[in-house]
Amino acid sequence: MAQGAEAVLGTRQIYILPTRHGLLFVLVLVALALAAVNYSNALAYLLTFLLASMAVVSLLHAQRNLLKLRVTAAGGDPVFAGEPATLRVCLHNDSGARYALRLESAQATVMPFNVPAHDTRCVALSVPTVRRGRLDCPPLTLASVFPLGITRVWSRRMVLPARCLVYPKPAEEAPWQIAAGTEGESRPGVLQDGEDFTGLRTYQPGDAPARISWKTLARGQGLHTKEFRATLAESVWLDWEAFAPHDVETRLSLLCRAVLEAEDSGLAYGLRLPGVVLEPDSGALHRHRCLEALALHEAHA
């Protein structure tokens, strides 16, 4: 397996075999040769030879279509587990144009595309995700039926170092057991520190999802929005320990939802995981740091 920052396709990395159409082509060649012999027709011979020679020449074109291509890959934006991750695979071409390239992995295929001479083309490879963590770029194969469709040339499987971050899958229901407080103190299930809960009103479109009363919804009483009297607290702590009864993945999943909701509701939030403490803050970068910490959490740290 080719390994490294980029894969370069040399002659030893390229294979070639006839396609099904190629076998049909050979069949026709044999029939033509028989007709030529039977009618001892010089031009029928000549045309049969021409077709056969063209097939041979097309092998070289097919091989050259992949030869010395450099392939690199880069991870795309982080996604939540269950969503397809997008990897960018780039083909760098240092010589003549390449045609009808297909990028194939075990789970996905990219439609044929061309790479102009001395140019680079990148394609998005969409890979389904299941688990949180770092997603390695799956082994890739570059293939093509260029130029006549009668042969398929393909590369050895390439393993490229590109990775994509996969956040845990957010829990369906917000835990709403955000532990808030200053310095280290946490009381599960209690909202405090300036959070003056005044009551529920009927949900109206436009209300922040973070303020939806999930509990009443779960009880089957319809959508309600929680109302607070004052501005929200300066900081809440999202604490690993607060979800102690659940198993690791569920806790991460719940924390993930909590981070999303806290961010959406404009709170400053901190994250406390075994071995990791992220001070309360807000914003896209902080949200990413928190989610990354959740994604990369080691089960038995």
Binding site: L32, N38, A42, L43, R64, K68, D94, Y99, L148
Partner: protein, 669 residues
Amino acid sequence: MKPTPEILKQENALAERAAGYWLLGAAVVVLLPHAMRLPVWLSAVLAALFAWRFFMLQRAWPAPNRWWRWLLTVLLVFALYREYGTLFGRDAGSALLAAMLALKFLELQRLRDYVLSVLLIYFLIVIGFLYSQAMWLVVYLLAVFVLTTATLIRLAVPGARARFALRLAAVLLLQALPLMLAMHLLFPRLQGALWGLPQDANAGLTGLSDEMRPGSIQELSLSDDIAFRAHFHGPAPPPAQRYWRALVLWTTDGKNWTRGTDPRGGIAYEALEAPLSYSLTLEPSNKPWLPALDLPVRAPSGTRLRSGFVLEANAPVRERLSLELGAHTRYRMRALGVAERRAALQRPEQISPRVQALAARWRETAGSDAEVVRAALAHFRAEKYFYTLTPPLLGDDPVDEFLFETRRGFCEHYAAAFVTLMRSSGIPARIVTGYQGGEYNPIGNYFIVRQLDAHAWAEVWLPGQGWARMDPTAAIAPERIEYGADSLRRLLARGASLGGAPPEALRDMLALDAFGRARRQLRLSLDAANSAWQRWVLGYNQARQREFLAQLGFENVDPLRLVGLLALLIALVMGFYVIATRRRAPRPDPVQRVYFNFCRKLARSGLVRAPQEGALAFAERGAQQLPQHAAAIQSITRLYIHLRYGGTDNAAQRQLFAHQVASFHPART
């Protein structure tokens, strides 16, 4: 796994967008040359099916549903069977293929259907060559070949532009030519057919018949198909000596003349001059006899000489045949064998009293056989005999009727009457059929002899001389011999009187206007090209291949070894190519070359760049190790990075860069 209808629809849409019109166009152009040959109804059906396909593409007409397609297929196959009586062989097979292609066009669904259609078109191209190997057809079908290949390319490369596909197809074709040539020369040629001789391969070939009945050559005299071409290696003989003999007819029943059984015992002759040598290229005639100039010197391999000095191939000529021949135009023979004399005096059981009386009168008045012959020729000249290509029909005793009543006819009538009269006078005589004359092609320096040059004449045995050619037609219409059959036809069409007109008047009548001359010139040029093509390309057969291999030093190579040799050659070429592409490292661009030069200079002063070390990191290390050159190193590196990765291509900066590197001398300080 069966693909879902949506996937099928998508695949079809893609293939149709790439090659819908292309495939239709290729099918139409490949079938155009066939259209004349196919039955009219089939051409009409094909045109209708293609039109339907066109509207399917253009106006999104629906395809007929499956039941209609089946019905159409069954009907077409049935109609073809009625037409040809079979579905196999060249004629029926090609008609069936054409019909299948057109029907396939109504149900193109998957990429596979498109590819299959393209392969069918390749097949039809080859079938075109089974009918004609003319050069114009080769050029035309090569163009079709490129179009077909471009269609295949468009199916394989989605979104390929028309120009790209056509260019790539042409490039593939050109690159395939050397390999094709190698296969052409080395692929073992087999002689003869694989599955019995195709009955229809020789349909429609014209040639001399081995039976002569007054009127039978007439069919040939209307055909301007080429019988053979002859190229003389020295000066060509004059028209009066260009008699190409093919058959000697000995036996008659009063109406028909046939070869009968060959009389035993050959005749030795004495040549009176050195032989002429010439090469003869025969068109296939499906007959074994070979027209050779009087008298053939020897029989080349694959042929033999029969009694009467006629050359015959060991098998009917079914493909173009090239022979190297020699001829003695002047000769003398000593003695006539008993068997030949008997055969040459054979007469039908009933000869009319009028004919016998005429022969007897000559015999009585003449002193020798030669005088009898002269009297007979004088008779034809003096009496009112006419040369015509449309003679009246003759009844039970054609010789009598012709001589005394109709008096109109052409070579056959005269030859038959003459030989009958000679035999009645006791002079051994026989009919010779073949060709006379031929058109000279100054461009290719050869003679074209057509079927319309077919001719019949007589030979009589004269003591002391041997078999002597007597052409009674020449006595009636010397223009036939002097100007050739084609000119004679034109003269007759203009109502010229033969046998007495002054040559100037005839030449005036035969003179062509400027347009006619240009047309003739063009025709002769084309024929010269065609002839060269036939000599060097089409005539390549087992014998030629053996000759070629012998020249290369391979004697008696068996076919399997030949295939091995061919495979080895291909493998060598491919292997060489693959190795060559692997060894060739990518060529650095000019900027990079200068930078490598810079690195080499630093290497000489002990600073070696690691393979994976970036230019900036290397410069930093260099500046630390060689502080006295730090400024130069940094400057060169900055410039290099700017030129190579900055995206701007500035000639002045490139020059500056080259100059800085050139004047950088770290090792000397």
